[in-house]
């Protein structure tokens, strides 16, 4: 019973990977060869496609991570199986979220340099991205240093849940705080249909990539949990 079947990527994992690769190729093609050069920004406007795609999917990852935290803390003490799954989802989405956050925070300044002549600006959305990134890093730091036992896991889950109201208040505060600065409208550039297609494809490609990576990371984590269970089973039978 406990010894049967692990949690390999399976056809879902391979399917997601292939789909992500296909969409990435298509998105890149659309971005660089079909979508027209934007009038004022020129070639560097093309950063925008993957920048926004990553930002949206980072928020999705955060939402999943917090949901996993809620599941862990609400039914985790009753149902160990759900606790393990929720915990694995938490790790997977947090690590992918950090990766996406890094993409956002590297592409953001590249864009800002060209558009506003400065590497960093405390523009509300960029600031919010930075805070999500920092929260994710704190989550991973907790997991690394506060112990990987049940207690350490529950503290990390608690942080991911607190992140929801925290991000809401950060968003409101940063919006008002940044109110004095000129608000640059992102979406002004998407005038042509090809640009919109490229944008849609980019968001979808990053989404598939994030999903594939999360799924693979989840598989590894479940495999690790399964290995622990096997060791315990051996210990139970021999001890």
């Amino acid at each position: 019973m406990r010894t049967k079947g692990g949690f390999t990527p399976g056809w879902i994992g391979y399917g997601l990977t292939v789909a992500a690769a296909g969409f990435l190729a298509a998105a890149l093609y659309m971005v660089f060869f079909v979508a027209p050069k934007e009038a004022t920004m020129g070639i560097s406007q093309k950063i925008f496609y993957f920048h926004v795609g990553s930002a949206i999917n980072m928020l999705v990852s955060f939402g999943l991570c917090a949901t996993a935290g809620i599941v862990y803390l609400s039914i985790g003490s009753v149902n160990r199986r759900w606790a393990d799954i929720a915990d694995a989802v938490g790790v997977a989405t947090a690590e992918v979220g950090v990766t996406l956050g890094a993409i956002v925070l590297i592409t953001g300044p590249l864009w800002a340099r060209k558009a506003w002549g400065t590497w960093w600006t405390w523009e509300p959305r960029l600031t919010l991205s930075l805070m999500v990134f920092l929260l994710f890093l704190a989550y991973l730091a907790l997991r690394a240093f506060a112990g990987s036992d049940r207690f350490g896991r529950s503290v990390a889950a608690g942080l991911s849940i607190l992140g929801i109201p925290a991000l809401y208040f950060i968003h409101v505060a940063v919006d008002r705080w940044g109110g004095a600065h000129p608000q640059v409208v992102y979406k002004g550039g998407l005038t042509q249909i090809d640009m919109r297609i490229a944008f849609g494809l980019s968001v979808a490609a990053v989404f598939l990539l994030a999903t594939a990576l999360s799924w693979l990371r989840l598989s590894i984590e479940r495999e690790r949990q399964h290995l622990d269970a096997l060791y315990l089973e051996v210990d139970r039978r021999l001890g």
């Binding site: 803390l73 609400s74 506060a146 529950s154 503290v155 608690g158 849940i161 208040f169």
Partner: protein
């Protein structure tokens, strides 16, 4: 009624130990005062501009010194595993949490009164709107106290808790600091167009939501 007596007993216990040892108040107040001195050397070049950076200095000092105190308050519960004498008693976890948060906020306020007076003197700041000034510090301290107490309790036994606590809490404190600095700036007469009332309501909303969430999470997290 029993729960309220327990709440009072825990708060009273923390105050009694503190007035006996004076560890937390002595160390955090001294730390805060030294921070103020350092800030004075680092920023005080043009006294005319103190209204620009004074509010920031107040909030950075409050934030740093409060975090140090939060770690210390739970060091006391860690010795002899004492926190568990509270959690294993019939007291509800929410009572234990509220009592610890109350004690924590009380110590933070006691530390901040001399510190902030010193900042006002050193940086030649005059408070033109005392109500907003005090209200924002009160609401801000509740926010810092709730989140800080939750994670200080959870990280009590963690290695590197001194670093982990700010790592975890500071991102959550960002809106508190933003609101705090804005209102404080208005209260000391800085020439900015802000309505302190909006920010005070914002902080009050923060406090209410986090009071509910932290109490619920505390009960859940200790039993995990």
């Amino acid at each position: 009624m029993d729960e309220f007596r327990r709440y009072l007993a825990i708060v009273q216990k923390d105050l009694r130990v503190e007035f006996r040892t004076r560890e937390i108040l002595y160390t955090t107040t001294l730390f805060a005062l030294l921070l103020v001195v350092i800030f004075a050397f680092a920023f005080l070049s043009d006294a005319g501009k103190s209204r620009d950076y004074g509010p920031g200095i107040i909030w950075v000092t409050v934030l740093f010194a409060t975090t140090v105190g939060q770690n210390r308050l739970f060091d006391r519960e860690r010795e002899n595993d004492c926190l568990w004498s509270l959690l294993l008693s019939p007291a509800e976890p929410s009572t234990v949490f509220m009592a610890k948060a109350t004690a924590q906020i009380a110590f933070a306020v006691m530390m901040q009164v001399p510190t902030i007076l010193l900042i006002l003197v050193f940086f030649d700041l005059g408070v033109t709107d005392p109500f907003s000034f005090i209200a924002v510090l009160a609401l801000g301290n509740v926010a810092l106290g709730l989140v800080g107490t939750l994670f200080a309790a959870m990280l009590m036994n963690a290695r590197m808790k001194e670093v982990l606590l700010p790592l975890v809490t500071y991102p959550i404190f960002v809106p508190v600091v933003i609101a705090g600095v804005k209102v404080t700036a208005v209260a000391v007469g800085a020439p900015i167009a802000e309505d302190p009332e909006v920010w005070l309501k914002f902080l009050a909303g923060f406090d209410m939501i986090f009071a509910v969430v932290t109490v619920v999470l505390f009960g859940r997290m200790v039993r995990a």
